[in-house]
Amino acid sequence: MNNSRRSFDVLVVGAGPAGIAGACCAAEAGVRVGVVDNNLRAGGQIWRGETRDSHLAEAASWLRRLASSPAEILTPMEVFAQPETGRLTATSSDGLCELSYKKLILCTGARERFLPFPGWTLPNVMGAGGLQAVVKSGMDITGKKVVIAGSGPLLLAVAAHLRAHGADVRTIAEQAPWSRLIRFGMAVASHGRKISQALQLKKQLSRIAFRAGCWVTAAEGNGKVESVTLRTESKTWKEACNYLACGFHLVPNTELASLLGCELRAGFVRTDNFQESSVSGIYCAGEPTGIGGLELSIAEGQIAGFAAAGQRERAQEYFGERKSQRRFSMALERAFMLRDELRPLPSAETIVCRCEDVKFGRLKEQSSWRAAKLQTRCGMGPCQGRICGPAVEFLFGWKAESARPPIFPVAVESLAATGCVE
């Protein structure tokens, strides 16, 4: 295995919008910057597949800016441990890489929240963002019947994207009721840009049935999903489909922040005005500080980038934008709160932990996340509880414990090389 070492003044983990903004600002301020991401290219999930020539002007402009900045882009590379303060270890296709830093900016983004229901482990039941990512990566969805379900504004963006790629989107089932969606609409009415985005989406989604207060109770099929059962407060029915794209809004990726000792508050990384976490020299920007979407991520990324490079005055120029976008973030949280009817969906036989095939019936007998881990191996497979953890928190109220290295599975020889194991 090849080992390499890199050293940076500012190291950015995560090359989504927050990380790109942070890396650009820090690098343009004149310090040595590296930006590492476990995906194939910079862009994060939202700009997956976008390039410098993209038709999406904002993505293209940021990706061009990153490419022409002096920041070094390290992809795909996955950070898994910090053997000592100021040094992270990561794996890439070339082997192990040691990344030394003076300042660190964590822009680790978010993932979808998945909730278990009978049939959710069938092939072709995917996340909403999950199916979109796979289509962006080259899968052909032309003519396929798709039901989109779950919660959050991502469902609409996914529906528009899949339809543009030829999918036959049958229904969008949003669990939040109309009453909350309307309040959300009013709350964001002050954001001109969000309104124009919404109107554009509405046009792209014409004639697709959008149902609020509607959720999936089961997926059925022989070897793969063939239909889903949908429910509202007044009725239950089946809808045939080739794919179910189902995700319940987003949860932050805080594993690395937690490993590095950054304090979390209500599940998010706590930061000060300059996006610095409770650990001096470690900054955090984007979804891990609060789910707030693209514009907030970019604002926070710019603040963190300038602050980490020692240019606090320039960082302050983005405080106003951040403040305005945070109002949107709070409105999001209120609007897409999960309804209680989603809790009793799993039956005793429904798998909750997909890595270890732990069924809901076995988890119900446990008293805590720790007991569940010890007794059932829930959360102890390769995803390390990233999928079942947020589900278990919703179902039973158990909070996941703090992260331990390696935060992603790695080969034993990589672990040995870092000194994480004797």
Binding site: N38, R111, P123, V125, L131, G138, E356, D357, I387
Partner: protein
């Protein structure tokens, strides 16, 4: 234009381009079961972004590769459900 070539999925040739992931190639071949769970159930991809580990397959003999995070390479040999 991205370069076009073929890979094999469970022995069958699939035409792909270099910007596609191994997962896209597998799904393009019509295969929906990527792996068997610890109790033997069929599983497919879930998150599409390298987090859930449901899309693990064997690529060029190497097991447990996350197919959503690996780009197609010329003459790549992909095996699912192993």
């Amino acid at each position: 234009m991205p370069k076009a070539f073929s890979v094999t999925v469970n022995g069958a040739q699939v035409g792909v381009t270099e910007d596609m992931t191994a997962l896209a190639a597998i799904l393009l071949s019509g295969t929906t079961t990527l792996r068997r769970s610890v109790s033997g159930a069929a599983r497919g991809a879930l998150c599409g972004m390298g987090v859930c580990f449901e899309c693990r397959v064997t690529i060029n003999g190497e097991r447990h590769c996350r197919s959503c995070q690996i780009r197609c390479g010329q003459a790549m040999d992909i095996r699912t459900d192993e």
